[in-house]
């Protein structure tokens, strides 16, 4: 069995939103039974609404936050639907990609 074959396929979901919406995203991650997520605040970049400077000293609300989580494929659809509803109302982007993990138990998959 090769290294790749030892891994378990999963779905990775990345979201970039304003800091004030990061809490809602975290809540949806948690409600979808994601066992963990990563959050990076004050990210910079260029997007649909223009440049976003991460160096905002006195405003955590408008500074962008990037959050990502990894969930088993069968749980991804509901979470993607839920995030889509939220992102119809708020500025932000979502990226969904296939990934693979070495310890699926950490991500809510019961190992046989």
């Amino acid at each position: 069995m090769t290294g790749q074959q030892r891994l378990t396929p999963m779905t990775r979901i990345d979201v970039v939103v304003a800091g004030e919406d990061a809490g809602s995203i975290e809540e949806l991650f948690t409600a979808a039974d994601a066992t963990g997520f990563t959050s990076v605040s004050n990210v910079s970049g260029l997007g649909h609404g223009g440049h976003h400077d991460g160096r905002v000293l006195f405003n955590d609300m408008d500074a962008l936050t990037m959050l990502f989580t990894v969930v088993p494929d069968h749980r991804a659809d509901d979470l993607i639907d839920a995030l889509s509803v939220l992102l119809e109302e708020r500025p932000g982007v979502m990226f969904v990609s296939q990934t693979a993990v070495g310890r699926p138990g950490y991500f809510g998959v019961v190992e046989e």
């Binding site: 440049h51 905002v56 000293l57 405003n59 509901d78 509803v85």
Partner: protein, 809 residues
């Protein structure tokens, strides 16, 4: 996608983003009630508002016509406004709820009756200690507690009829499940679910906003589950929702679209008139390049509009250089007052990163003794308040203490000024001042730890240096320090006023600003922090001492804080400063009092004290009413100008900021806070019924979190009528915030391009921006990114090159 408990939750969250952001009344923070619509143009937001609620984002048209008739709006301003008109409505679907549709068809009032039940349960659920008895089953959440207790509620039987108990008992225990069940059973189409939830929030926006405040979607889901379950219970099972209950969102019957266009035109003209007046004032004022002599004191005040008048009078009194800076002094902290719980003391857009505690100063004489005495006095006073809310104890309390409380109440009613003085004297006699200090170090730290953001404790030395550096740089005070630098926060003093926090410092999340001033002074007086600042290029002379103060905006008195920590070498200068602060305060009070109703102009300062202690006074001060603009620039730009306490003043030295980093901080921080304050006053004025909290005499505090106007209904939001008008006369002039910045236009363009949040506010017309200088003239940045020459100067008319956003490409 099918509607299930999980997607119902996400729709509940999505629909809630349009809810006004509100805060408990004890820490009232001004916000833009339409914050959730800032991604749309102001005019589109006005249309959506009219279509969904019938509320107006503008003054009534006859008010604009009156302003035109008296010359406040000129034909010239109208012409200029007309040339800017644009109308490209971008509408959203608007839906009727099931009970609203039923009421429309049958002439009933089911929606209102459901409102009444939901409001009652929201009130008991959100109560935070005002009620003597706690809500049973609170741990089950709003829906769970209601489901458990509703069978005993006679109001439910009246609304639902017989079999109410059995039908409630049959509901799922899980709120999200109950919600998605109703959505499916009543045929609410998937694409309209979020719109339906939005309509359900709109029925009781005050309570819905209060539930959204927790940041936990469980409360929002519970609100919707309760509301939709009640709708489901009261309606015939055959009544189903249909897409004919959704409209395209045109204003329709509520307010005609053409009217909104006309109102937008009037509003634009009104704002252009003020813009021209302010720029004329700034341009025509003779400018002195520097004070005649080096100032003995530099005094830093909050950017709050009320500081403008005080600064002007202080500079008239003596050799003082004043500076404007956000009143939280750049410190993202929580503050625990002596024996109190930590509370955020920074703008709500900033996350606190450290906690500072006020503790007895063990180095001060007799501190411990005074502290013990304080405990006794504080306990007695707390007992008095607790007795008032207990069910039986007030009778015994009246027997025991009525002989003294009765005459005191009479004195407060008929001689409030004397009562206020007496209370202050009694307090001072019974409670000697406690000498305290702000404990800023992280406990257990050797003060040399890493600059890791700390939540629970104080700050490491590196963090202190970093924060002190950020504050000094942002207020443009990095050299030529005077022997005394006064850091002056502000607070208000009012009696019997649930909205007292709305008069305190907005930059400190509706708290007094003195503690933040004390913290920064404490940092800046430390030799090791000064060493760190020297390494960073800011050298503070050994002869300079930072002292904290607090400006009471109701009385215009300034109190010096932590005087006991100041070296004796500076006492003479401080004595002189205190005398001059008193003179400036009396002059400022006299000027300010002339606008207050029923004022004794012969004794303005005394009258201000009377207002602060008078429990029957509805207008103790005007707060930030009439705020209109923020000026970002050196004090020379505004010195000597009477800006009528309408302008936020933020000091800024464009020459010291070649890369625009400081200006970027000001635009993304203080400017946003100013915009929220401006918007709160704007909307509380244009539609006080929808966005204001009603009139003070009818207020009843509910749950310790807000007010009813009367005895029930929705939780009221926004400012009370007496904050913006009195006796039918409007005092606040509703204007969107005008930012005037003295800086190169190229620098502004770069910053706007790099900060999409600021760009959005400008592009959508929520704020307006004018840039330039008195010498070079002023230009306003239009929404499309082009620049338009304004009054004064010799500015080149040619539009500036600007970078396009991705959207435009």
């Amino acid at each position: 996608m099918t509607v299930n408990p999980f997607t119902a939750r996400s729709s509940a969250l999505a629909a809630s983003v349009a809810l006004p952001r509100t805060f408990p009344i004890g820490s009232f923070v001004a916000t833009n009630p339409l914050h959730g619509l800032e991604h749309r143009s102001f005019e589109d937001a006005a249309r959506i508002l009219a279509a969904t609620t019938g509320a107006s984002a503008y003054l009534p048209e006859h008010d604009y016509e009156r302003l035109h008739s008296i010359g406040r709006i000129t034909d010239s301003d109208l012409g200029a406004a007309r040339s800017r008109q644009r109308s490209t409505p971008d509408l959203v679907p608007v839906v009727r709820t099931l009970t609203e549709r039923h009421d429309d068809d049958h002439g009933t009032d089911l929606a209102d009756r459901v409102d009444a039940v939901v409001a009652k349960w929201c009130a008991v659920y959100l109560d935070r200690g005002q009620a003597s008895w706690d809500l049973p089953h609170r741990e089950l959440g709003l829906f769970g507690a209601w489901r458990s207790l509703a069978p005993g509620d006679p109001g439910l039987a009246r609304l639902v009829g017989r079999r109410a108990r059995r039908r409630v008992a049959a509901l799922p225990t899980n709120a999200a499940q109950a919600l998605s069940d109703v959505v499916r059973r009543r045929g609410i189409e998937e694409m309209y679910v979020a719109d339906y939830f939005r309509a359900a929030y709109r029925r009781l926006p005050g309570w819905a906003s209060a539930l959204a405040r927790s940041g936990d979607s469980d409360d929002l889901v519970a609100y919707l589950a309760l509301r939709l379950a009640l709708e489901d219970l009261v309606l015939d099972p055959e009544e189903r929702w249909s897409d004919t209950d959704a409209t395209d969102g045109s204003p329709g019957d509520a307010i005609d679209g053409d009217v909104i266009e006309r109102l937008a035109l009037w509003q634009e003209a009104l704002e252009l008139g003020y813009r021209n007046q302010l720029l004329q004032t700034l341009t025509s004022q003779p400018r002195s390049t520097r004070p005649a002599s080096e100032p003995q004191v530099q005094a830093v005040f909050c950017i709050d509009v009320r500081s403008e008048g005080f600064r002007r009078h202080l500079e008239d009194v003596g050799s003082y250089a004043t500076i404007g800076f956000a009143g939280f002094f750049g410190l993202p902290i929580r503050v625990a007052q002596l024996e109190g719980e930590p509370v955020a003391s920074c703008p709500v857009i900033v996350e606190p990163r450290a906690t500072v505690r006020e503790v007895p100063d063990v180095d001060a004489p007799s501190a411990a003794r005074a502290h013990d005495h304080h405990d006794a006095v504080g306990s007695a006073w707390a007992t008095r308040h607790e007795e008032k809310s207990a069910p039986i104890a007030p009778f015994a309390f009246a027997e025991a203490a009525g002989w003294v409380m009765g005459p005191l109440a009479a004195l407060r009613t008929f001689a409030p000024r004397a009562a206020a003085r007496l209370a202050e004297s009694a307090r001072r006699a019974a409670e000697p001042p406690i000498l305290t200090v702000m404990q800023i170090d992280r406990p257990g730290s050797d003060h040399r730890g890493d600059a890791t953001p700390g939540g629970a404790g104080g700050m490491t030395e590196a963090e202190q240096v970093m924060m002190a550096h950020g504050a000094l740089v942002t207020m443009s005070l990095t050299k030529e320090f005077a022997p005394i630098v006064l850091l002056c926060g502000h607070r208000s003093t009012t009696a019997n006023n649930p909205f007292a926090a709305s008069l305190d410092c907005g930059a400190c999340a509706g708290k007094a600003g003195g503690p933040n001033a004390r913290v920064l002074a404490e940092m800046l007086n430390r030799p090791r922090v000064r060493d760190g600042l020297t390494d960073a290029g800011i050298r503070i002379p050994d002869t300079t001492w930072f002292v904290a103060g607090e400006h009471d905006t109701t009385t215009d008195e300034v109190r010096i804080l932590d005087r006991h920590r100041m070296p004796s070498t500076h006492h003479d200068r401080l004595d002189r400063l205190e005398r001059d602060l008193a003179v400036a305060g009396r002059r400022c009070a006299a000027e300010r009092q002339s606008l207050l109703p029923g004022v004794d102009t012969q004794a303005a300062a005394e009258d201000a004290v009377r207002r602060a202690g008078d429990w029957a006074e509805p207008v103790a001060e005007w707060g930030l009413a009439r705020n209109a603009a923020v000026v970002v620039g050196p004090r020379q730009l505004t010195a000597g100008c009477d800006l009528e306490r309408r302008v936020f003043l933020h000091s800024y030295d464009p020459a010291a900021d070649p890369d625009g980093a400081i200006l970027g901080t000001i635009l993304t921080g203080p400017l946003v806070v100013g915009h929220w304050i401006s918007s709160q006053y704007y909307f509380s004025t244009v539609d006080p019924q929808r966005f204001g909290s009603g009139t003070k005499p009818l207020h009843n505090v509910v749950g310790g979190i807000g007010v009813y106007e009367g005895v029930g209904g929705d939780l009221r939001m926004g400012l009370p009528l007496e904050s913006v008008a009195f006796d039918g006369e409007r005092v606040h002039e509703p204007l969107r915030l005008l930012a005037v910045v003295q800086a190169p236009r190229e620098r502004l363009e770069q910053l706007i391009a790099a900060n999409s949040a600021v760009a959005q506010l400008l592009r959508n017309g929520w704020i307006r921006l004018v840039v330039g200088s008195p010498e070079e003239g002023w230009a306003e940045r239009l929404r499309d990114g082009n620049w338009e020459r304004c009054i004064g100067g010799t500015l080149d008319d040619a539009p500036l090159e600007r970078s396009m956003t991705m959207e435009e490409r």
